[in-house]
Symmetry: C2
Amino acid sequence: MAPMPTEPPLPGSHDSDDLNRRRTAEPMLRPPHDFSRYYSCATRRRVASSVKDFYKYFAIPGIHNLAGGLPHVSYFPFDSLEATVALPNRIPKDGFVPQPQPTASPASPPASQRVVVPKESSVDDGLRRIDLATALQYGAVDGYPPLRSFIRQFVRENLHPHVPYEGGPEVILTCGATDGFSKTIEAFTNVWDENRDWIRERQGLLCEEFAYMTAIQTARPRGLNIVPVAVDSQGMKVEGERGLADVLDNWDFSRGQRPHLMYTVTIGQNPTGAVLPLERRRQIYKLCQRYDIIIIEDDPYWHLQYPSAKQNALRQGQSDSSPHTPFSVHDEPSGFPFLDSLVKSYLSIDTAGRVVRLDTFSKIIAPGCRLGWLTAQPDIVERILRISETSTQQPSGFVQSMVAKLIMGDQADDMVKKPCTEGSPGWRVDGWVRWLEGLRGGYEKRMQTMCTILEEGRFSIVQGDALSNDSNLDEWQVVDNVQMFDFDWPGAGMFVWVKFCLETHPLWSQVPAAKLANALWKYLINAPYRVIVGPGWLFAPTEDVKKYAWRYMRLCFAPVDEGAVATSSHNFIEGCRSFWQVKDIHDIDDLEDDNEE
Amino acid sequence: MAPMPTEPPLPGSHDSDDLNRRRTAEPMLRPPHDFSRYYSCATRRRVASSVKDFYKYFAIPGIHNLAGGLPHVSYFPFDSLEATVALPNRIPKDGFVPQPQPTASPASPPASQRVVVPKESSVDDGLRRIDLATALQYGAVDGYPPLRSFIRQFVRENLHPHVPYEGGPEVILTCGATDGFSKTIEAFTNVWDENRDWIRERQGLLCEEFAYMTAIQTARPRGLNIVPVAVDSQGMKVEGERGLADVLDNWDFSRGQRPHLMYTVTIGQNPTGAVLPLERRRQIYKLCQRYDIIIIEDDPYWHLQYPSAKQNALRQGQSDSSPHTPFSVHDEPSGFPFLDSLVKSYLSIDTAGRVVRLDTFSKIIAPGCRLGWLTAQPDIVERILRISETSTQQPSGFVQSMVAKLIMGDQADDMVKKPCTEGSPGWRVDGWVRWLEGLRGGYEKRMQTMCTILEEGRFSIVQGDALSNDSNLDEWQVVDNVQMFDFDWPGAGMFVWVKFCLETHPLWSQVPAAKLANALWKYLINAPYRVIVGPGWLFAPTEDVKKYAWRYMRLCFAPVDEGAVATSSHNFIEGCRSFWQVKDIHDIDDLEDDNEE
């Protein structure tokens, strides 16, 4: 436990010349604002390690370095790391039925290549050298230099090419978005203790009305005031009751400070699946400027924006959303139509440098990577780096070197220039983009399968053989053709957010709504339906929201085998239809008492 | 960013039966104490995720799980992970000159074996199944079940078999010891803000007088009062001025609360190399009981305890240490003489459950693993798990699965029972222990090489051709045969802590001591010596200690090629000798101004 990290590459040392030239041609750009007033007490106190002063000496040719507390590379028991990895085109753009993988066999499935990380590479350039001698040693806290350099360039040139502040954003690798969020919250909030502190010192966090609960559970123990903002099918609302303007304009200071932080999932929002269009981003950003709010944009699903969503939304009668254009294009083509088709990040309109963006490899490669990156103005990234130095240090070298090899291949030197041809190692930028398109295609197909069945089945009408044998036709008359639930086709992501019309249920007037909803949830689990979904209350960030969250359930189509999506969706419909025929209140009570049938 | 972790194995589900039977045969054991009064405000507020309530439903055979937000396994681009790894006996027990690794070549060096993590294993038992489908998916926050289960068993049965509280300790994997320490500090301390809080609310952290600075830098930004305790060649002192009893008995409450936390590196202490013997542990533990202090024992070098250290200490005239017996044995043989030879952890006398022990793979496998484990009583481990849920989640599945395969091999089922034979995959317990012995042998050889040269060269006498050409014999008379420095042979670890006798330097009376020491440090870097060492102030946890830390330098022999240890050590001696001949004060001033020659 005595790291002596090698010097992280200087910000912009690799590719900044080109960018800076381009940027200096844009004279309106100003430096990002100084948000240090928002740094937490502990974050303010962090100082750069004094070890850094030594790096210049470490670089002296022939120096005998007895200063660093590093183990000897020859004592690393790993001589090489290798992998069989997918070629970028493994998943067709229009969706894919994945072949079953050979079980416990090292035989290569189709469209794969070999990746090897040797013990020592002969490459001198630290931005191109990928080997175990460097990846498994103490290293740069902001990320393994080749990988960070690649991602930084991808972020600045391909993903967010026109961030409107001087110098553009900086990038630091994280141990996943949850780690990135945790550090951001640590950087920007003080713990509030009701037994010690004045209410006027309590800080707040804005979030969507229904939210990703791990984020909320990160913030809540710090005593932050969790402040939900109403959402619709386009994400966070600006106008209307409990919209962002309402919340901020009419802030009740008896609850604490007006929030200076916002947590938001803008693409394929979890759980609602909403995509926040650019125009609404502008409105929200404007409010954040007025009230001086830092925006934490967490976008694990940014690459899963479904082209079919817009036409689906228009075709789908029941959507209450106004016509929207989530799929805008960059100001100039990036060379990648896929990237151009994506809704721009908040970063694209971030003139002040008030956006901290979280990305993750969890939905691009695999959650077990525990690898992601954080993008923000350099000063904020520097504070996150200070926090990382005394907590996670660097992400694991095993995943960093393997992902670096997967993406950069053996030709890290010119990875951006050369096209990715079959068999040549390394995805490079075009391969990475192609991989994302395949993922989008695969998940979109699942989404369409599920949503088509849900849309067709959302009424309680039972046709032909779908009518179960024990149903009673007299009862049937009562519930004939009422709507059981409604939903918007998700614009992106992995979730369908189903809103139940429980008032059409025969027992609506006899059973409290939350109890009825819970009974439905358990009814679906029972045979023969055997479907478990996420109950709405699981996504309620506050007790107030929990009071009406019973109305919702979240269905995730992502982990289901493609062939099983239809079966699961049909079972869900059949379960709902059967539940709508329950008219004996005792059956509800039985479900309530039932832990598991 | 929507984890739905699989259920962590219940504590003790794997091997607790045997242990519990054994434990119930020890009637004196009492449950660990409740230290929840020390939990920080935020740690107190943490609640278990309500998602856990669903796990029982997930296990229903044939359930259609639409609740979890997981990506589909077929979309992980890694089809297999493979590695060439060392056999446990690669490094001879008595030290080793490592063969140069083939550069950038996948050819296997000697004493290696292949390790393969397939995409999907056919093994059903989650404690034996090692594959990418599980390792790269969202998983158990306390660690990949097969690996955590193995480590837990190793900890409870081999490393610390008789922890004297009921039920014994629990284990959670961390992203390295720095991560484990950060979470422990988060669990047990509140941030103190001098602008907001009373001095009586300020908490403190005891540590060694010279300490590992990353740990101090973790604690200091939280406003903790860093309280150094005097050390000698056996580690933290109990008696005497600034010894632990002195610090605690005479606590000055105007500085804040009496510390309730201690951070200590007890084996091969960084930077002093001290080994804390069992008897002194008992004295310190007793004081910690009296003053109700939690002990955070960070032991990255526990396996590097050098058998030669005791005889070296006795032989070495200049050691001021009283005869000590750092190498005690367990109450009953463990079956592994190596493990029996190690000084027992604080855990071995921890009747109250007040010890939190940090271990890491950084010095066992490689620092880039970012993998370690934390051992403590179950309630404390549960709080650390809650903190991990909203920060790092699990360590990377890449390193967890590879280390699991390295240690457990393909026969995870009976890994403890079978001996590790040449060529059969998996180190298992005996291979792991053998690997540790090899590491100890390799580093011990380096330590002996360096210390022998330092011991022989610690006087300024120059013999024969070692006398540099430009030295003046008149000057030489002045400094003839004075002692330049002193040191104790390290009992363990990677460091030699050199104490300079600057009062023997010709310019002692003319140059302030700290300036003279800094000049020496820079002098050593210059040609022809070219040696950089860690200056003492780098390990000073407070400004008070910094005032006399100039007297010390830390030399680390670990990262140096074995063949280069002698050269580096000789250069150090030659540099010192030459510096002791500097008698012109202007030469010192020149060094002071000099950034790099």
